[in-house]
Symmetry: C2
DNA sequence: AAATATACATAAGATTCTTAAGTATTTAAT
DNA sequence: ATTAAATACTTAAGAATCTTATGTATATTT
């Protein structure tokens, strides 16, 4: 079995929003730094979201009405907790379903199994 | 079961080279237009590679020594057949393995199954 | 005291796609 | 016969999204 130390960045591209939305759906609310740490932990370091990728994505999702934020002070330091809006809940479901479907298609395409009818 | 008409472009990004290399490994040699048609057919139209994406990718892979070409005339029209170099064979294997590993990781991450040890 | 971890933000540059336009031959439809 | 659609390739402008780097600041560990 092939073991990959870390995935090439092209693969992460396109799945980041889905990862974030799904994690927030599961955990309720999280802050940015926590998301990077959780993804790294859950994937044994194989997916490491950089801050330069994450924060603009979070801002974009918030601007688009998928996420809402609450600020909290931990001592003197600010934390921004993100959670899904109701629209974000729907988007999360759609994105996860689409990715699951895509992965099935890719599996078929890469295995090049004989094509069966859809009946 | 969710059915997707066509995947959002972010998902295709990052998998195009892998798709092309794998198809060429399976078919021996193909020309560009044939690749777009084959992928569309195999995926029921869910993955439609545009020419603006494919041709630059083929040129890039050739420039990088993964592919080699033969020109053939069909009547007065030129066709460029692409096939894998020995380096391309290796790259194809690596890319497919990496993508398979990535999909396993993503499946785990999206299902959020309880983490099991790797022992 | 210094190094590392926590926690955010953002800008410049790279990559890779979409969209569009261009060229030209061949086949199918009217 | 003429037109439209399919075949077949190329390339450029623009958009999206990531990497890399920098900046700021607090908290914890060595």
């Amino acid at each position: 079995m092939y073991i990959c130390p870390m995935y090439s960045s092209e693969l992460i591209k396109g799945t980041l929003k889905t990862i974030v939305l799904n994690l927030l759906r599961d955990k309720g609310r999280m802050y940015g730094y926590e998301i990077t740490a959780k993804v790294k932990e859950l994937t044994d370091g194989k997916i490491q979201i950089t801050e330069g990728a994450l924060y603009p994505t979070l801002h974009s999702l918030e601007k688009n009405g998928e996420l809402e934020t609450e600020k909290e002070f931990i001592g003197k330091r600010v934390r921004k907790y993100y959670s899904l809006t109701s629209q974000g809940q729907e988007t999360a479901s759609q994105k996860v379903n689409e990715l699951a479907d895509f992965m099935n298609t890719m599996k078929f395409l890469l295995d090049l199994e004989p094509k069966l009818g859809n009946a």
